[in-house]
């Protein structure tokens, strides 16, 4: 079963102006149900743009996306996916529980059912005692766990994440990665994950999609043969290092190729 099918995706910003940018060109990507796929690449490679096109927050200029066999637009209307960003994006005027309830309110669930689901989600992210606190009373890592709980509250089969751990310190980040894998294993959620971090991409993913900029495109897809049950020991596993090396080389390859193609334009 296919969770996400992207075919021939192209995205042009500022078309018809001198500031025209080819953000994405000819992107094909298939994500199977239950798979964890990361998008990695330098700034401007279009990874966040691709995520937003899958989310139907941006229309593609060319090509089409299906999510769970429907158009991306329809999938968004049906709340088929949950989303989490680098900023937790919680609402300060709502309690933690009511933040998690927000997507359920929009789905029209009644209060009791919402509250029960929020309690369930707080247990999933291991913060059950924080229901009545406000987001600003929580640490950055806790806020991000609440954001994940919110993204999963409506029980979506797909989770779209844009550098969700980018603002966290290294210790919290590794803990959150472990938590995310546990949650995904428990819920069977498919994940499309944007990151800058090579170890993060390798540790989490079944496949790492390496992208390059100007124009944004997929240059290679690295399979990570670590299996599904990963733990802190996985970080010492030779296959983990092999995965990191493979992703790094394919990023470096495009770096060298890119530098040769556009000498002197590297830092533009």
């Amino acid at each position: 079963m296919t969770a996400v099918q992207a075919t021939g995706i192209g995205k042009v910003f500022n078309e018809g102006t001198p500031r025209r940018v080819d953000a994405l060109v000819g992107v094909d990507l298939t994500i199977r149900e239950g798979e964890f796929v990361s998008l990695i690449g330098p700034s401007g490679c279009g990874k966040s743009t691709l995520l937003r096109i899958v989310a139907s927050l941006l229309p593609p200029t060319t090509g089409e996306v299906t999510v769970n066999g429907k158009s991306a637009e329809q999938a968004r209307r049906d709340q088929d996916y949950g989303m989490a960003f680098q900023q937790a994006g919680l609402f300060d005027w709502r309690t933690v529980a009511r933040n998690i309830e927000l997507p359920l309110e929009l789905k029209g669930w009644d209060r009791e059912r919402r509250r029960a689901r929020a309690t369930e989600m707080l247990e999933l992210v291991k913060l059950p005692e924080f229901a009545e606190l406000h987001p600003w009373q929580l640490s950055g890592g806790m806020q991000q766990r609440i954001a994940i709980a919110r993204a999963l509250a409506a029980n979506p089969r797909l989770l779209l994440m844009d550098e969700p751990f980018g603002a966290l310190d290294e210790m919290t980040r590794e803990y959150m990665q472990g938590e995310l894998l546990r949650i995904c294993a428990e819920t069977g959620t498919t994940v499309l994950f944007v990151t800058h971090s090579i170890p993060e991409a390798v540790y989490l993913s079944d496949r790492v999609v390496v992208m390059s900029p100007r124009p944004g495109r997929i240059t290679s897809i690295v399979d990570v043969p670590l299996g599904r049950s990963r733990s802190e020991e996985t970080r010492n596993d030779p296959s983990f290092f092999a995965g990191i090396t493979a992703v790094r080389e394919s990023l470096r390859g495009l770096h060298a190729e890119h530098a040769n193609a556009h000498p002197g334009l590297e830092d533009r």
């Binding site: 927050l57 609402f91 005027w93 927000l102 997507p103 309110e105 929009l106």
Partner: protein, 257 residues
């Protein structure tokens, strides 16, 4: 915003010391009452004329309160319209910001001309206008300057514009409204006093100050000034209490991250 008695002790002592210095200066330099009256006779006048002062304060206070309420309601309503129809906002917002920065209360002279000489309406309209622009500018900002991540999140839930308004824009604007009220409440009292200087019935605190000065009753004039200060303070306190009540209800005011 919790005020402890200890926080009040120092300013209170300073105020009393200042009054004592004033009293002492009037006695030491033998200052004449037409130049400067001592605090003791101001307080005595205040006590003697309590009934009259209360009546005058009621007139000015009611003008300020009516204008504050009307201006808040109208300014709030208009800011919704401006955020709903973006082109309207682009037209009106720079104008509102400009008007907010100039002393528009001088318009009361023109308004006085439009109504009968004994009418309180022009004064109330003037207060309404001053409050209206303060509320409009701030609330419109609160409704439009929401975090892009929040709007994107709501769009990912396929939320309608009205749901985004109810669940993101309005809650975001609440602290802005209270900021506006802490500015508008003292401004409404000031406008109510100043509008009385432009003619009309001689019934409010502002006009009583001028009429007592005109009759060389300087101590009485100062007593009305004292009452005006107290009324202004009352309005400020009301807005502070409202603000702290609102921030307790809704958690902290947005951290602005």
């Amino acid at each position: 915003m919790a005020v402890r008695p200890r926080d009040l002790a120092a300013p209170a002592a300073f105020g009393l010391a200042f009054a004592a210095l004033w009293e002492g200066a009037v006695a030491a330099f033998d200052l004449k009452p037409y130049f400067l009256v001592p605090p003791s006779s101001i307080v005595a006048q205040f006590a003697d004329n309590l009934g009259l002062i209360w009546d005058a304060a009621s007139v000015s206070g009611l003008n300020a309160a009516v204008g504050l309420l009307a201006g808040t309601v109208l300014g709030g309503a208009m800011s919704f319209a401006l955020s709903r129809w973006r082109f309207l906002g682009e037209l009106a917002t720079p104008l509102a910001v400009a008007l907010n920065a100039i002393p528009i209360f001088v318009l009361v002279a023109v308004l006085n001309n439009m109504y009968s000489i004994t009418s309180e309406v022009p004064r109330r309209i003037m207060v309404t206008l001053v409050v209206y622009f303060i509320v409009l500018v701030n609330v419109a900002r609160g409704l439009t300057q929401v975090r892009p991540a929040h709007v994107e999140l709501m769009r990912s839930y396929a939320a309608s514009d009205s749901a985004i308004l109810r669940k993101v824009r309005i809650p975001n604007a609440v602290p802005y409204l209270f900021t506006a009220l802490t500015i508008a409440a003292p401004a409404s009292v000031i406008t109510a006093f100043v509008s009385e200087y432009f003619g009309g019935s001689q019934n409010g605190l502002g006009s009583r100050i001028t009429s007592n000065i005109a009759n060389s009753k300087n101590a009485a004039a100062w007593a009305y000034v004292l009452a005006a200060c107290l009324l202004g303070l009352l309005f400020f306190l009301i807005s502070v209490v409202l603000e702290s009540a609102a921030s307790k209800r809704g958690g902290a005011v947005s951290t602005g991250k």
